[in-house]
């Protein structure tokens, strides 16, 4: 770091921070202006879920979440196209291995719980997927070369599962005469649950595969692959 340049930049950043703090203070003092929360709460009974955050993510703004899953998928495809993964870490010792066999099932169980609870309390696909991804990271750290993921062919299906189920549900609702991702009332809860389940699996797989950090096959296999 260059001392003079660093100081000048630091001074400017400090000024910016003070100004931002003043803005935050003013915004808090003014209090709540018109906001989307009232509309979000008013529409809640029609969405079939009682957690407003889940309703925003999967009902009101379903498009955004679909595109977000596509961003995840694109990032993983980018990582896979940058080269092969480095070989796994060395196998864990007895103590770490014991912890892994204890923690990973718990993480998967907690992920399933968060997925289900997302309908009526804080939780949902992203939290559950993050836990599954963490389980993959722990397994990779303990020496599992694939981070606990299935072979490549299955990995590909799992990684696209979120986007695929989302789009299929959207096309199905179009076929029923409603718009893309306009869930019929009554079906809404189960469609959201189906999408969230697929999204959980896809997010967990994607995060774990991203942690592996490269294509999960070596160059030698590629010729025999497709």
């Amino acid at each position: 770091m260059k001392s003079a340049g660093g100081l000048v930049i630091g001074a400017f950043v400090l000024l910016l921070a003070i100004w931002l703090l003043w803005v935050v203070q003013t915004a808090i003092d003014i209090g709540a202006g018109p906001r989307l929360a009232e509309q979000a709460f008013a529409g809640l009974p029609a969405t079939g879920v009682s957690n407003p955050v889940t309703a925003v993510l999967l009902s009101y703004r379903g498009y955004d979440t679909l595109l977000e899953l596509a961003v995840l998928l694109a990032a993983l495809l980018g990582i896979w196209s940058l080269g092969a993964a480095s070989p796994g870490f060395q196998a864990a010792g007895a103590v770490l291995q014991g912890m892994v066999t204890l923690v990973v099932p718990l993480l998967i169980l907690a992920g399933g719980y968060l997925l289900w609870v997302g309908g009526h309390a804080p939780g949902g696909a992203f939290q559950a997927g993050a836990l599954l991804g963490a389980a993959g990271v722990v397994m990779r750290l303990a020496g599992d070369e694939r981070a606990g993921l299935p072979p490549l062919a299955a990995q590909r299906w799992l990684v696209v599962a979120g986007v695929a189920v989302f789009v299929l549900v959207g096309i199905a609702t179009m076929g029923l005469g409603a718009g893309f991702l306009a869930y019929p009332i009554g079906w809404s809860k189960w469609l959201i649950l189906a999408i969230e389940t697929a999204a959980t699996v896809a997010i967990g797989t994607t995060l774990a595969a991203a942690y592996v950090g490269g294509r999960p096959w070596s160059h030698a296999d590629v010729s025999g692959q497709s």
């Binding site: 950043v13 709540a32 929360a37 703004r61 961003v71 980018g78």
Partner: protein
């Protein structure tokens, strides 16, 4: 008061991240700084979602959830790109 504390912590995180992003050259440090900036923004959004006696606004919460996942995947891609760059340059 608590809200100002949370929001202010977000602003401080953002400023620290911005400073580190501008001052340090290595890619890894810039990535960490960007992530700290992002955390500051998420912090601020969550703090601002609750106004007075009203129930918290779910829209910023959903925005933050979305933002975290996008930030994680973008960071993973940037790390993979950085590693590939280093390999191609022979580690310099």
């Amino acid at each position: 008061m608590a809200q100002l504390l949370y929001g202010g912590a977000g602003v401080v995180l953002f400023a620290l991240g911005l400073w580190a992003f501008l001052v340090y050259t290595p890619l890894l440090r810039k990535l960490i700084a960007l992530n700290i900036m992002g955390s500051g923004v998420f912090h601020l959004l969550i703090a601002i979602a609750e106004r007075g006696e009203l129930p918290p606004d779910p829209v910023p919460h959903a925005l933050v959830l979305t933002g975290i996942v996008v930030a994680v995947s973008a960071t993973a891609l940037a790390l993979a790109m950085g590693r590939r760059l280093e390999e191609d340059e022979g580690g310099r």
